[in-house]
């Protein structure tokens, strides 16, 4: 801890814990006392935003080693969806009883409407994620499930079913970001942060659909903007060829289908079919969520930070044996927060240049 110069605390909505500003409470537990310390909070994207802020601490030339850390216990609240209803504006959209589940249903319906995506194709995302999670000792949910299991699970809001959704989890995560010079001394195979991007959309769902909308709710166009910035910094021109692993913050199965399109892994509307062909499997073109991803564990404050952890493990060749993808040069990690409103991207690479 003496070598850590500053701490960034990754903490999303405090209402799940029932302690306001819990970052202040946790200062001592994470060794932040007497150090520069700040909390980042961008909803679900928090962990990735915090990792970016940690990167900015070091890339600004102010610090040599920064700890990015956080923890969450979503299940300590009575009903996380009741809390999440309060992310919407009380004057316009809150009264509709919006929750993240009903919001995801909107996206699923749009994706089905525009691209003919089938419920079974979404179900297959859950099947693959649960299967991948079997190789991840720290995943919350895991198992051999089938498309039928997902299809038979109860509807929470059509077409979103129980297995299409992430769980409420408890967990902590941390990364250490150091300057290039220090990294060369400490590690023979670090993961280099090569590109970052984060873009905000409007909060209002009504402005993200229909004739006057600049983009459609089915598509994660804002993620595409953030990815474009990150890829440019990282020098990535052909994501399918150059990226081997994607760790995505996709809390619902439809999100993942929309996100892989936005990240340039395929054209819009193609993800359902490619998913069926095994394109995103462990041994496919790009392994998407070898960890099982958000569908298998969602401790909101650190879920996106866990994506960075899992991406870094892959790049460093340190992932658990069966979870490790072969020959990973580049991994892309994402975080998504609000009403699918904030999208953050980080590209990690085995190569310095």
């Amino acid at each position: 801890m003496n070598e850590i110069d500053a701490v960034v605390y990754s903490m999303g909505p405090s209402e799940f814990l029932g302690v306001n500003e819990p970052d202040k409470w946790c200062v001592d537990a994470v060794g932040g006392r007497d150090k520069p310390f700040m909390r980042i909070h961008t909803g679900g994207a928090t962990g990735l935003s915090a990792a970016q802020a940690g990167f900015h601490h070091v890339a600004a030339g102010l610090f040599d080693a920064v700890l990015v850390v956080g923890a969450d216990k979503v299940r300590e609240c009575k009903d996380s969806q009741q809390v999440l209803n309060t992310i919407w504006d009380p004057l316009y959209e809150r009264q509709f009883g919006l929750t993240t589940i009903t919001m995801a249903a909107f996206q699923a319906v749009r994706h089905m409407h525009l691209y003919g995506t089938k419920e079974e194709q979404m179900a297959l995302v859950a099947v693959r994620s649960w299967g991948n999670a079997l190789n991840n000792p720290v995943a919350h949910l895991k198992g051999h499930i089938t498309v039928d299991d997902v299809m038979m699970s109860p509807y929470y809001c059509w077409p979103v079913k129980k297995y299409d959704m992430c769980p409420s989890s408890a967990g902590g995560a941390a990364i250490v970001i150091v300057s290039g010079k220090k990294a060369m001394k400490l590690s023979t195979r670090p993961a280099w942060i090569r590109g970052c991007g984060e873009v905000a959309n409007t909060v209002f769902l009504g402005d993200q659909m229909g004739g006057r909308a600049q983009m459609d709710f089915a598509d994660s166009d804002v993620l595409a903007m953030a990815a474009t910035a990150a890829y440019r910094q990282a020098g990535i021109r052909n994501p399918v060829k150059e990226i081997q692993v994607a760790e995505l913050y996709a809390p619902f199965t439809v999100c993942e289908l929309s996100m892989v399109e936005a990240l340039g892994f395929c054209r819009k509307g193609e993800s359902g079919r490619l998913n069926e062909e095994g394109f995103f499997n462990m041994n496919g073109e790009i392994a998407v969520n070898p960890s099982g991803g958000t569908l298998c564990a969602n401790a909101i404050a650190i879920t996106a930070l866990a994506r960075v952890c899992d991406g870094a493990l892959q790049v460093m060749g340190k992932a658990p044996p069966k979870m490790q993808v072969k020959n990973v040069r580049n991994a892309v990690c994402t975080g998504e927060g609000g009403s699918f409103q904030f999208h953050a991207v980080m590209v990690l690479s085995a190569d310095y240049y």
Partner: protein, 380 residues
Amino acid sequence: MSHRVAILGVGMTKIEGAKKDQKLDDMVFEASSKALADASVTREGIDSVVISGCDELDGRCISSMLLAMPAGAYLKDEIKVTDEGCYGVILAAMRLMTGLFDLSLVISWCKTSEAPVSDVMRMRWDPFYHRGFGMNHITSTALMAGVYKSQYGIPMDIPARVVVKNRKNGARNPNAHLQRPIKLSEVRSSPVVSWPLRALDCAPESDGACALVLASARKARELKRDPVWLAGFGWATDSYYLGGRDLSKLRSLGIAAGMAYGMARIKNPLKEIDIAEISDFSSYHELMVYEGLGFCRPGRAQDLIKEGLTDMEGVLPVNPSGGLLSSNPFTASGLFRVCEAYLQVKGNAENHQVQGVKRALAHGSSGFCAQGNAVFILSR
């Protein structure tokens, strides 16, 4: 600093007790629009938006969701730091120093009139050790004031004179919430709210929003501006557990100031700084901040007040704007301090302008008993 950061403009709403005619998004839009206009840049040119807000006081569990848009962040690279508003300046400055961004908007707000402030504060305590005491922001500030008072034997008139000074300054600031100057006798006779704090020793609760436009040195040169430079900044936190802290000292403020002074190459702050805008949650707190910032030795802040060194006419005027004792939009107060320091260096502070300001200090503070502190040095 390897890469310098410039401040091009600021925007502030009028600070009031209760902004009845404006919703939160209206306030934020007003502040961001004013900052862009003051900096003579358009929203299109902004490539980084840093927001700082307090969810619990807003009554939304992700406050930036609504306010990112009125802040100007639609389809922009945006991030939120959840602390005192001035932490936004720290993060925005670091982002500019990476060379990845050129022009940044920083914004914070607080609408205390619509929030159950005391309840929100009590809920900040952990449920196991502290919450049972029922302390809020005022009683915890009083606890700190009490320790400080007994440690150094501070006579009652000293903090009262701090109040008189700040309220006198605030009366000259048209943007301040409380604009009536008060007499020493009024402070003395105001009721004790939490010993040793009397009602007038405490900052009020106000509504307000403010924003700044920051630029990389490259961008400031390109735009041919005569900016105010962010010459240094520092921040640090203390322990959460009050029982393990020496409440007569602001330990983390000393660390934060050391970092900021190091960057700005300041050795003798009392001599080298021309004005300071500090977060004085109470009159006693202002005295403790003098000591944390190294203006004097521990316990000797009373001498500065006795000799009038921090009056408008003194060697180091503190809070020419009136400080928090005149206006306190709570979690945005520190960012307001940075805005006020900017106005002083720029020479745009009108009625409360101090003459010949070349270097100004701004200070923000957050958490119980000032757990976290941030210090900024602005210079010509």
